[in-house]
Structures are given as C-alpha cells and as structure tokens.
Symmetry: C2
DNA sequence: TATTGTTATACTCTATAACTATA
DNA sequence: TATAGTTATAGAGTATAACAATA
C-alpha cells in the first residue's frame, strides 16, 4: 500500500483521495479561481489579464516575450490578451527605440488608476474564498505553497 | 492599500502577487497537475480518468450522474470519459435492475488489478512534485487545503 | 411530465507552424 | 541567419440545448 505522504498515518479506512495533496490542491484552486473570475467579471477581466496588469504596474517596460513567460502562456496567447487590454485602454505597447522589433509594455494612466482597485477586489476574493481559514492558517498556507513552488523568501 | 491576508506584514516592497494565496495555489496546482499528467501518460490515462477509477474502486455501483458530480464535470463529459475507460477494459456500465434508465458503474477485474499500481504511481508523483516540503510540511499543507475545501476530519 | 444518459454543437483555452519586419 | 511579434489553425477541454428511452 502507498499513500502520497507517509507521515500521514495510513488508515485503510481513509479514502486514498483524502491523502493526496494534488487532489486537495486542485479542488482548492478551482474554488478560489472561480471566486476570482466572479469578482473580476464586472470589469470584463479574466484572472490572467488582471495578473498582467499587476506585473506591468510593478515592472513597466517589459517585453512581450518576458511577460508571456511570467504568465506561463505562449506568445500568441499574449498577443490576444494585450490586444484586449489596449482596447480597454488599460495598457499600451510602445515601440522600442533601440530594437524596433520589440515593444515596451506599460499601463496607461487609466490602467494605473484601476489596478489598485482591482488588487483590493482580488484580495477580498482571496480572503472570502478561503474564509474557513483564520489569518494565521492562511499565512502558513501561503508560506507552504510558496516553498512548494520554489519561491525565495 | 490592501493585501489578501492582513496577518502578513504589509511591506510595500513585497510584490502584491507574492501575498496572494490564489496565485500561489494556481502555480502549485499547475506544477503538480503536470507532474501527474506525465506520470500517468504511459497508461494513456488523464488525471480525471484516474480519479474516476479510484472513486469507483471505493464506491462500486455509482450512477453516472453521481460520478459526474464527484469529478466536478458535466454528464456529457463523463460519457466520453466512461467510453474511454470501457474501451480500455478498466470499467463497465451495468444496466440497473430497478431503474432501467440508469447504469451502475464498476471496475472490471483488470481495472481493479491496475488501480493499486496507479495509486502508487500517483502517490510517488505527489511526493516528487512537492519534494521541497518535508513530510510534516506536506501533512500540514494537506490539512490546510482540506480545511479550505470544507472537508470534514 | 420528469429523469438518465446521450448526441450535437459551440465556445474557450491552449499549442504549433508559418509569416512579417526588423536585427 | 536569427529574433520579436503576429497570424492562422487545429486540438483539447468545457458548457448548453436538444434528443431517446424509461420512469
């Protein structure tokens, strides 16, 4: 017999799925993701579009290929995402001065004005969708997830 | 200013994304899910198909609508999933005796023989994809995720 | 008339290859 | 010849409506 974590007492009455981190992770992610989708719907933004705005606020001037890598999407997908953000007046492509193939990506004034409100919305969604945890548990969950992801800090 | 968890000291130098449980959760889930996809690829099984086998092992005789609900997929998707498991000789539909519209779902002998090996594979994938956590941390992560999901126990 | 499972269909997401314009 | 971005296209995954058989 085998279970995902041998530190968990292996009770034969415990369903296998209840011992799998990946299964619990998937269900948690679906729940929180859907909550965020609903929270951003009135802005006509999807989670990836919101994340792009947050990254561009923190690192203005990024190239498209770099932003695509940050979002873990392929360049062709990023084209569509950026087209939408430009149509919404939230971000813009600025032709590179040195390399005229590349674009430097920036938020517009409107985008900069909106992103703070979006972060508050998303933060509220984060808290609401994990309301069964207290603040200390949420902080510990975040720490463990970031360690799993190989993040520093 | 706002962050997803007010118990986390709100350092203005900390990028907002690093404070969001949902973002860390999504990245962790993608990493573990992809690892499982690779681990099951040689069996020509996807995670949802594997999960269906595990559920049917534990609860033989389920109806399709019930299994669909467990997997959080729509009935039409489950039809295709079951067709594939039947083609692979791992599960079968048995016409209900009382209600002849419904099917009782069961593993075949071959399915029962395989599911133990699959669970070991999946458990190894679970551990490998979260190798940056020690056993105590993995157990605590599982506990917090299950609490977030509203699971009992 | 309602329910179980199925089919048909469309919509989203994602991945790949081929194209353009610069370098 | 290589690279940044784009276009075109096709493959999954997912959701909805309509249908057949049974209750």
């Amino acid at each position: 017999m085998s279970s995902p974590n041998d530190a968990v007492p292996r009770d034969n009455a415990t369903p296998w799925l209840d011992t799998a981190v990946g299964y619990a992770l998937r269900r948690a992610q679906m729940k929180m993701f859907q909550h965020l989708v609903d929270s951003l719907a009135s802005y006509d933004l999807r989670p990836a579009q919101f994340t792009a705005l947050v990254i561009l606020e923190q690192e203005p001037g990024l190239m498209q290929a770099d932003l695509a890598r940050r979002l873990a999407i392929e360049p062709p997908q990023l084209v569509l995402l950026l087209n939408k953000l430009e149509r919404q007046g939230l971000a813009e492509r600025v032709r590179g001065t040195q390399d005229r193939r590349a674009y430097a990506l920036h938020l517009t004034d409107q985008g900069r004005a909106l992103v703070g409100e979006l972060k508050e919305r998303a933060a509220a969604s984060d808290r609401a969708a994990s309301a069964s945890l207290d603040d200390a548990e949420r902080a510990e969950l975040l720490r463990l997830l970031r360690k799993l992801n190989g993040d520093l800090g």
